[in-house]
Symmetry: C2
Subunit: 244 residues, 2 copies
DNA sequence: ATAATCGGATTGTCCGACAATATAAAGCGT
DNA sequence: ACGCTTTATATTGTCGGACAATCCGATTAT
């Protein structure tokens, strides 16, 4: 065993990680802010005292995380947008083998509270957007794919007019998994009409800012979806792997 | 204008992006599964027909996303764990300048439903864990930092025994921002006792599986926290930048 | 069998090079 | 002076090769 060498070492994390941490800190501390250009790779390399290749490896991480974005050739500081985070999160949910039960419970809770906030805060434009959605769905009631995507849109609209981004971020990964899976129900049970009816009622109540009514109907709607899954014979404890 | 050159081009995304996409697809399709070693960089480079540097840049993205993890020297396939995703999400919330209002609304909704599920499903072990938490908090009621972290732990315990990972993933980024900010309240208003009392009541109700009671008290508790913020003079429309 | 030793495999980092291209600068016609 | 084209420059993407450090497995010595 070596016996004399005292201390030394203590390098740990590879240099590329230190690069990304360093740049991230720079951003978070505000010394680099939103639209700023990142310094060129060569300059970063010089400043940090590492090779350009190392810098590049560090930047890839940040780029992947959405913290910097290519605009033309160079990189500029950005903020990761919801949809990216949400899709990442839903992929994680799939990998963690989250079950239908968990998903449907969470969806019920989140969509209900979302609808309630929407009922409190929606304006004329919001109402119109929702009504357009209803009209569209009515028109395409036989095209299952359209119904699915309009269903997703319906709930996204509610989220938008609920005016709470924290809630949006929370519900999005779940909705991203939950509603597309509904295609199974639709193809087997033809429940489009039922969905459309529920949406109609909800819009009517939202327009009247009737929070209690919205709560009741959204709960009912979500329970209905759950029942749909059960009636198609899906084991609610089955993980959500197939879809997406 | 060039006139002859027909087709060609159509390269798009840089090679390193294609590398990460390719590996990610490999993972998601199951051809590489959870604990598997990734091929060595040289081999990946050979298989994909690119240089090792390019492969490395591609891998950095996946590593940053938590899809592959260093185990010793080589990389193995992993799944991104909650806490990483959650902290990433909460950082995003901060960058999006989400307000206290949004956060507190979302927290109220999520913690309430979480507590209700916990009341349905908790077992003896869970009750004991909660009671330990209460005991600890009682013992350290004057150490504000301890109270804050025990408060966080309390709600995390509820989430754990609510047995719904989708909900956990949804609430975690919010709780990660919301409770630490409570330190402001505690230092100014000394509301530790009030928090502890609320927690005690909630535990009592959870033990009795009294869902309605839990709902009522959790709502009360969250409203109380909100009022605390207001009374410390914080503008609820202020973004959450300072903390974390 | 256990411990020490060795060698190959693999990653981390560096260097240097070059093509492609986006951006800035210079030129030019009006 | 202005708008357009051309030229230069800066910057990124990709490559090839190199080498030290280190982990892992096989071999050898105890």
């Amino acid at each position: 065993m070596t016996s004399k060498t005292v201390f030394e070492k203590l390098d740990l994390a590879p240099a590329y990680r230190q690069v990304s941490d360093s740049v991230e800190k720079m951003i978070r501390s505000g010394r680099l802010s939103l639209g700023d250009w990142l310094p060129p790779e060569t300059e970063l390399a010089a400043q940090l005292g590492v090779n350009r290749s190392t810098v590049r490896e560090g930047l890839r991480g940040l780029e992947h995380a959405g913290l910097v974005r290519r605009d033309g050739k160079r990189l500029k500081v950005a903020i990761p947008h919801y949809t990216e985070l949400a899709s990442r999160a839903s992929r994680a949910l799939v990998m963690h083998q989250v079950t239908f039960r968990e998903l449907s419970e969470a969806a019920a809770a989140l969509e209900t509270i979302t609808a309630i906030f929407a009922a409190q805060r929606i304006d004329e434009g919001g109402i119109r957007a929702l009504e357009n959605n209803l009209k569209e769905m009515k028109a395409r009631l036989n095209d299952i794919d359209s119904v699915v995507s309009l269903d997703i849109e319906f709930h996204n609209l509610l989220a938008e007019y609920a005016d709470n981004r924290a809630l949006s971020l929370a519900r999005e990964p779940i909705s991203l998994l939950f509603y597309p899976a509904g295609k199974i129900i639709l193809t087997r049970l033809k429940t489009q009409k039922r969905i459309l009816d529920a949406h109609k009622r909800i819009v009517a109540l939202v327009r009247k800012h009737d929070e209690a009514g919205v709560r009741a109907w959204m709960e009912r709607h979500m329970a209905d979806l759950k029942r749909g899954y059960e009636r198609t014979g899906i084991d609610m404890n089955r993980p959500m792997d197939s879809a997406v």
